[in-house]
């Protein structure tokens, strides 16, 4: 997790290639200040240092809209991430965060996703609900947060139903020495180490797409356990508190480029929950 910013463009500008000159002609304002993005260097499908995640693609889209070159400050997205990056002033934009999170100022949400059940298709388990009695008998993988007293919503939902003895935990941090450590829970389903995993949608959708074993990805239901345990979350961008002019710019881009953003998310297999559909349900 070395913190490195990469002013690649400036290096290339010094080289003075013709292609770049043409590129610059189209993007005059690239002389403007860079768009400084805070991101995890090892966390697909969200982001990585090779800029292969969907948050990297969305950052590039915003950079184009603002005519600013994108630069990164890399830091693992764990406790302290916002403090070490955005709030340290090293970068100005976190592309993915929970809407309304207190430690930063969040934009309007640009997608909504859900926790999902992930199973092997050949097992034909067809689990769709936390109230499926199968969940008392099969081995279940869950993501663990390790925040005091709190965990991912599926962990609480299972506990509320007395399902604890057949649950296997995968800390979201994983082993950071491995590539995309968050993906181990999907590997466990493919290998059959667990029968079903209950995973945050974007992670599940992406790795299920790439699994050598066909996997089913099904949104959990209900969408909310009473009194207050949601499985569907709004995801927004985050800026420093008080950076409201920048936040407004981002809000406008989220509206004007919604179709492009949606197509990027779909390409990465993110299970999208339609706001309209949800209210209709």
């Amino acid at each position: 997790m070395h913190r490195t910013t990469r002013p690649l463009l400036y290096v290339v500008i010094a080289a003075g290639s013709i292609g770049l000159a043409m590129h610059l002609a189209r993007h005059r304002a690239y002389a403007a200040a860079p768009l400084r993005v805070c991101a995890d260097p090892n966390s697909l499908p969200f982001s990585n240092q090779a800029r292969a995640g969907f948050e990297n693609k969305i950052a590039s889209l915003i950079g184009d809209e603002l005519n600013r070159p994108v630069e990164y400050t890399w830091w693992a997205q764990r406790r302290g991430f916002v403090r070490h990056t955005l709030n340290a002033g090293d970068c100005d934009l976190v592309v993915g965060t929970a809407a309304g999170m207190e430690m930063l100022s969040t934009t309007r949400p640009y997608y909504k996703s859900t926790y999902v059940f992930v199973t092997r298709r050949d097992r034909a388990l067809h689990i769709r609900s936390f109230d499926d009695s199968l969940l008392h008998r099969v081995k279940i993988g869950v993501q663990l947060i390790g925040d005091d007293f709190a965990n991912t919503p599926p962990v609480h939902a299972l506990a509320n139903r007395g399902i604890v003895r057949n649950v296997v935990g995968f800390p979201v941090y994983g082993n950071y020495a491995e590539q995309n450590p968050e993906a181990r829970i999907i590997d466990a389903v493919a290998k059959g180490t667990v029968d079903v995993a209950i995973v945050w949608g974007p992670l599940a959708g992406y790795f299920a797409q790439r699994s050598s074993v066909p996997l089913d990805v099904v949104p959990v239901s209900p969408r909310l356990d009473l009194p207050y345990l949601p499985f569907v979350f709004d995801i927004a961008m985050g800026v420093r508190r008080g950076d409201s002019a920048f936040r407004k710019q981002l809000d406008e881009i989220i509206v004007s480029r919604k179709a492009t953003i949606d197509s990027i998310l779909r390409a990465y297999g993110v299970p999208l929950v339609d706001t309209h559909q949800e209210t209709a349900e």
């Binding site: 997790m1 913190r3 995890d40 966390s43 969200f46 693992a76 997205q77 764990r78 406790r79 302290g80 991430f81 403090r83 070490h84 709030n87 340290a88 993915g96 965060t97 929970a98 809407a99 309304g100 999170m101 207190e102 430690m103 993501q143 663990l144 947060i145 390790g146 925040d147 005091d148 007293f149 709190a150 965990n151 991912t152 919503p153 962990v155 299972l158 506990a159 509320n160 604890v164 003895r165 057949n166 649950v167 296997v168 935990g169 800390p171 979201v172 941090y173 994983g174 082993n175 950071y176 020495a177 968050e182 974007p202 992670l203 009194p227 207050y228 345990l229 979350f233 995801i235 508190r241």
Partner: protein, 611 residues
């Protein structure tokens, strides 16, 4: 019963008769007693001169009394204390370490990046003899839960031993600062860090890990003092074989007896990432030849997911230092729900209880009780609240059970108000001192309660969830901190000083009847150990969360030293620069500390005081 154990017994049981023997020259007058060395060292390692002027480990002696028999600074002279030297560490995160004094040299460890400095006490201005930079991985900072502190080094057999945040235990030649060995004992990639000060017992360096909230499995390791090779590892969870529980294990209470409880008191496999780390204090009784330490809370599972006692988290252990074999265990807080780690210090003192002198272990625990146990067996002799508690209603001395209050159990979606003590407990890591002269404990601690509500959206490693919004605030009385003198025999407070801010510093008490501690707004205070009257105070550059020590310098005079440099869990608002508008930051501690930035700023500085 040799050395310090003898000394402590002498001074507590028959103080009046042995008065002279407990003064500063005790080691000489009693021959076999060697107070500053503590226990029986391995052959050939006793390179220190036999006097009480040094401070070779953070707890001073193996019994962890933090008591100095020096008397030059006393209730009469202390008013003349003045700064004789200062030294900037160059770092501004929380400074929790104790300065270590051995052979005319002072050794200090900075917070991350854990630079070790050796200062020459024989020359004016305490010039730097050497410094050592272990170059820990920057990523370790992203793993540590609560500021990147270090609790200090230890001196033994011509070497300085310390731990780095990125999980290395390092031995340096104390004279030159050259590394002798460097062993990687943990892995930051899976969330392990190390913040504790090691202890050297019988040629073994004892080290434990931090990171329970990251899905780490807790352990204590023993490394060979000369080679750094790991001799044994005692896990806190899992089958008996991993916990080093064998035929010698004789817990006093039925609730702690059984096979493989570290596995069977959890839902299947949860113990594998069950916490029970060891980032606090270890004591040693040379006569019984047992080491004592407690384990941290269970994690990262929330309580309702892990029905059962979740052994051996929040547990006091007694083990044999050579093999690590457990001799007894007592779980203070089974199935912890409030972050009540059991890593606090345990003082090994002999106390007259019901007309009998008992070999006691005294533990001011995070759950709010001062446990007095028989350290040979683990039997509870008393368990008295030392502040306001409502998360439980007492400890059953017959069964050893903590009487938990179910109304204060956290629940997602439900607001639970006024849980006392709050998550940092009645007392966190900040260690207590004991004076055999007064027979009193000197306890630096906090007075905090908390509300919990699971309503705020949170996001980590690409995963959203409903965070438990914890808000801490001052407990009954409105003061957030207490410095308290406590009689461990009667289980009652003798006097206390209410401090506005949590008292997050260590303390030291002397035969001159003076106790020292620091406040988070930077005051370093000397109080009368018998009355609690403030005799002297000095405002340092930053808040104090370090451990004061006292020693006799090469010039024969007594000095007091402390690191100033606010931070740690309560001070992270200042040292880390958290946002005071985010009241749930630092796991809810920020709410209780919103005024701290207006009272102190960060900065790491050693202060040495003398007459």
């Amino acid at each position: 019963m040799r050395r310090e154990d003898f000394f402590i017994r002498l001074c507590t049981g028959i103080w009046l008769v042995a008065l002279a023997g407990c003064r500063s020259e005790a080691p000489h007058s009693t021959g076999s007693v060697n107070v500053q060395r503590g226990g029986a060292p391995p052959a050939g390692s006793d390179s220190l001169p036999a006097d009480d002027g040094q401070w070779v480990r953070p707890a001073k002696d193996y019994a962890s009394t933090r008591f100095s028999s020096l008397t030059e600074i006393n209730t009469t002279t202390v008013r003349n204390l003045r700064v004789v030297s200062t030294f900037s560490t160059g770092y501004v995160r929380g400074h929790e370490a104790a300065p270590i004094v051995a052979n005319g040299t002072m050794y200090i460890v900075s917070p991350f990046p854990n630079i070790v400095y050796a200062l020459d006490l024989t020359k004016p201005g305490l010039p730097l003899k050497w410094q050592y930079n272990p170059k820990p991985e920057a990523a370790a900072q992203g793993v540590a839960c609560c500021d990147v502190v270090n609790r200090g080094a230890v001196f033994d057999d011509g070497k300085i031993f310390f731990n780095t945040l990125d999980d290395h235990t390092v031995a340096l030649d104390a004279a030159t600062g050259k590394p002798v060995w460097d062993t990687k004992v943990g892995d930051i990639q899976i969330g392990e860090t190390i913040t504790m000060a090691p202890l050297v017992v019988k040629g073994k360096v004892l080290v434990g890990n931090s990171g329970g909230e990251m899905g780490v499995r807790g352990w204590l390791k023993a490394l060979d003092e000369n080679t750094g090779k790991v001799a044994w590892t005692a896990y806190a969870t899992g089958p008996d074989q991993d916990v080093l529980i064998g035929s010698s294990f004789k817990p006093f209470y039925a609730k702690d007896r059984g096979t493989d409880l570290g596995k069977t008191s959890w839902p299947p496999d949860m113990w594998k990432i069950g916490g029970g780390t060891m980032w606090g204090w270890i004591s040693y009784d040379p006569a019984l030849d047992l080491i004592y330490y407690g384990t941290a809370n269970p994690g990262p599972w929330n309580p309702e997911v892990r029905p059962g006692d979740n052994k051996w988290t929040s547990t006091q252990f007694a083990r044999k230092p050579e093999t690590g074999e457990a001799v007894w265990g007592y779980q203070m807080t089974p199935h912890d729900m409030h972050d009540y780690d059991g890593i606090n210090e345990q003082l090994l003192i002999d106390l007259p209880i019901n007309g009998q002198v008992r070999k006691a272990l005294v533990r001011p625990d995070r759950n709010g009780y001062i446990y007095v146990m028989d350290r040979t067996t683990g039997e509870l002799l008393s368990a008295s609240p030392y502040g306001f508690i409502n998360s439980s209603s007492g400890v059953d001395l017959k069964t050893g059970d903590l009487k938990v209050n179910p109304d204060k159990a956290p629940q997602v979606g439900k607001v639970i108000r006024e849980i006392c003590p709050a998550a940092p407990g009645m007392k966190d890591w900040q260690p207590t001192a004991y004076s055999p002269k007064t027979g009193l404990l000197y306890i630096p601690h906090q007075n905090l309660c908390m509300d919990e509500e699971g309503l705020s959206a949170n996001y980590i490693a690409g995963t959203p969830y409903v965070g438990m919004n914890v808000k801490m605030y001052a407990g009954p009385g409105g003061n957030r901190g207490v410095f308290q003198a406590w009689n461990p025999v009667t289980g009652k407070e003798v006097w206390s000083i209410k401090e506005d801010l949590p008292v997050w510093s260590g303390t030291v008490v002397t035969a001159g009847d003076v106790a020292f501690y620091g406040t988070m707004d930077g005051w370093f205070k000397a109080v009368d150990a018998r009355t609690g009257a403030i005799l002297w105070q000095f405002k340092t550059g930053s808040g104090i969360i370090g451990q004061p020590v006292t020693y006799r310098g090469p010039d024969g005079h007594q000095y007091v030293a402390v690191l100033s440099g606010v931070g740690g869990w309560p001070g992270a608002l200042v040292s880390v620069g958290l946002d005071s508008r985010d009241s749930s930051a630092a796991l809810g501690f920020v709410n209780a500390m919103k005024d701290l930035p207006s009272k102190t700023v960060r900065g790491g500085m050693l202060y040495v005081f003398g007459l």
